[in-house]
Symmetry: C3
């Protein structure tokens, strides 16, 4: 399938500069693209590579000048790229229906437009709404809901009672609803505190591979609409995320911590339990948050402090040797002064 640049420009709201009749078939990197590909430049540092790229056309941001090339110009080129990829590399939806080798429990409501793959297991009383996709070997426990157009990849697991909203993606190996880590130590025995709550995921949430989200002890662990969670992330029981949060790979959030909207936690950071991170809070990579973070605040470090202060302390780390030397010099100078 081929698309005219003029047509693409119209569909994504870009400006076409050059030959609007030129056609492209796919998207490729600057180095890999051929004359039938569209490539893109979202970082000015790659300008030289873009000049030499054999790509048929380029998607660029405003103010990028390439006199002899055919261009799509968009104010948000990365967003434009997302749209272009959807058009040029559309995802194939699986055929509706339940595979004969799937195991479906009693009292399930499976929409006719939903798809259940081979060897998937759907527990009693669960519901799959319009366009829901459960790939082979995924598990939907009992009394779960999988919302409209939500996709569970192979080996994803929903424990009993988990609710997923519409247009979510759950990647392979993600586990939603396993027991929170709650034990009451009594006479040297760690007695399990039954975890009887559930996990609720709102709409348009993406959950990465092998991420784990524990069910609440009571009530809910809840992931707000539009939040995106990377691979190997851990969310403890009763954690709550607002809307549009971004949690990068290998982050951990301990039990009962509450995140506002649009909170960003960079890779490998941890947040202790029973805290609040206000809307728009940002945690730098590899940090450990042990205190509440105010809305809009940026923190870094172990333990995490205001990011600006952390940077100043880091700079001083690099002057420790110098400081140590200067103290010794002062002692010597003062010693000889005193000896006078």
């Amino acid at each position: 399938m081929r698309f005219r640049l003029g047509e693409l420009a119209e569909r994504i709201g870009a400006q076409c500069v050059g030959d609007a009749e030129r056609t492209v078939r796919g998207v490729a990197t600057l180095a890999q693209a051929g004359p039938e590909d569209l490539s893109f430049l979202t970082n000015a540092g790659y300008r030289a590579l873009a000049e030499e790229s054999p790509a048929g056309a380029l998607l660029v941001g405003p103010g990028m000048d390439f006199p002899r090339r055919d261009l799509l110009v968009h104010a948000e080129p990365y967003y434009a790229l997302a749209q272009i990829l959807e058009i040029l590399h559309p995802v194939e939806r699986p055929t509706p229906g339940v595979h004969t080798a799937a195991i479906v429990g009693l009292d399930c409501r499976i929409a006719p437009t939903a798809h259940v793959g081979a060897l998937a297991v759907i527990g009693d009383g669960s519901e799959l709404r319009d366009g829901a996709v459960v790939h082979p070997l995924a598990v939907v426990g009992r009394n779960c809901v999988v919302g409209e157009d939500t996709v569970l990849n192979s080996h994803a697991v929903l424990y009993d009672g988990t609710v997923l909203g519409a247009r979510c993606v759950v990647h392979s190996g993600a586990v939603l609803g396993s027991d929170g880590f709650g034990f009451a130590t009594h006479r040297g025995r760690h007695v399990k505190v039954p975890q009887v709550g559930r996990v609720v995921v709102e709409d348009e949430v993406e959950i990465g591979s092998n991420t784990t989200i524990d069910r609440a002890m009571l009530d809910e662990t809840r992931i707000g609409t539009g939040s995106k969670i990377d691979n190997l992330v851990q969310l403890g029981h009763n954690v709550r995320l607002g809307k549009g949060c971004l949690l990068v790979s290998q982050v951990g959030v301990s039990g009962s911590t509450v995140l506002g909207d649009y909170v960003v936690i960079a890779g490998q950071s941890g947040v202790a339990g029973h805290l609040e991170l206000g809307s728009g809070a940002r945690v730098a990579a590899k940090s450990a948050v042990f205190k509440d973070v105010a809305a809009g605040e940026q923190v870094a470090g172990i333990p995490a402090i205001a990011a600006g202060r952390w940077r100043r302390q880091q700079a001083l780390q690099h002057r420790l040797e110098d400081m140590h030397r200067r103290i010794a010099a002062l002692e010597k100078r003062l010693g000889s002064k005193e000896g006078e």
Copy 2:
């Protein structure tokens, strides 16, 4: 099902204050509870919330005074809560028997009271003891043992030869017995050192979702009775945990390290290989342990040092700017003194 407060008090060894005839049906948080729910107060900070809670009754610790409420008073309220939840929200045991869509190997001994779910795979020569539960799509390799009343959740994997004791819980995606990370580098090639040992888990151990425990190179990787391991934890080959250890989410312990009894490692901490952590040792969150830790010692930091010392160093971090300024001031003052 409804329970009288008086009956609950008797069963969990609590004191009932107020109307022992009042009945409750479930447990709920202070905010969510209704008049037919029992709620609980384990943290004095929530007292105001408890005053206003519409809960029918409250479970509290000793010395908590609520004149107009019906109470269960217990010296260890969190432990009491664990017991109450077991009574009011009992876990349903699956029906004994092997699902017709399970795959069971040769020479297996499966107790009549055990349950094997749909599409679970049990390898040749394995044994499932009384009340053992293997949920759908879990894998028990060859020559494994699953002890009495032990539960393997969906997608848990036991490699060949793994032994689980009684009353354990293994959550989804946990992998027990995969190969340790052992390679002998010979002329630029990392030659695999065959990992021919196994994993042995004693009784009453809980293992979180997507946790990985490697088999021993030789001999055993062993998890002591009553130890509890959270999600996404990594235990290397030949690691040994004593009794009652607690390992919080995303902890990693490298090969051949030995933990005594009741060792606690907080979230995202790592322990290097071939170390010993004595009984009762505690590692703070986000630490990296590169040396042995004595019994009862608390450590923190990267690299980990005695927790008290770590706290003092942290405090000095915050005075680095001040120290730097004072050195410069001293230099100036001494300079003018010298210039006299």
Copy 3:
């Protein structure tokens, strides 16, 4: 099966000291070995244990003197051990053929010598080459390639289009080819950037349990020949590893970062995106790399700096209290000097 020491010496290129006719049946640790076992000493610290070990024979490095024992002496004893374990504890290959309860798609090419276990799922258009093994409940997506003698353990998942070379091992729960974490934020919505590239794994790569490797946005995420990746590691989209890299457990490498050959990243370290780590670079455990690392360079710390410099800064951390005291003392001395 029993082996004469003389025969073993010949097969692994070791020197036999003592009775070459003595036979052994297995390998065991110094403490566990019996008179029919070979044990080994690769660390001089265990010499006393070796003296007393009931082992029938010992594998040791050069210059280890045990007058009354039968020995295999090898210049690289750990490498010799790897070879001995292969001989004495050979891995059983599963029988060729496709289990009747496996689900195989259309247009697959499965070599007659390949093995597909029960309830494994092979997608349309995929290829399993000679000796490939897909264990029960593993998933091979559509249009994948599994190379000669490559082993996919239970619950490993290959998303569509993943290519594995020869003699690789993928452990349980590893996920290859899930979507990279790419979103373009447009008017408060994180719009998914379709991830249309793939994962290519070259030959002799081992991938640990529950490790996740994301497909490229475009083009490839690629793991070079002979690289070994431990459990619970995260590799982002478009990451490239050269040959012979070693990534220890719980490491994370962000998108588009490129590693040369023989890069070593120790446990729980993270590397930011769009960086280059030159061949032979080494990252200490629990570090966070935010800058390029030159070939052969060793780095440590958060943020990572040259390892030598990091060690000096660490040493100064322990002198902070002392420095603080000395500054105060200087101020006092200078004050009284000034007061003269």
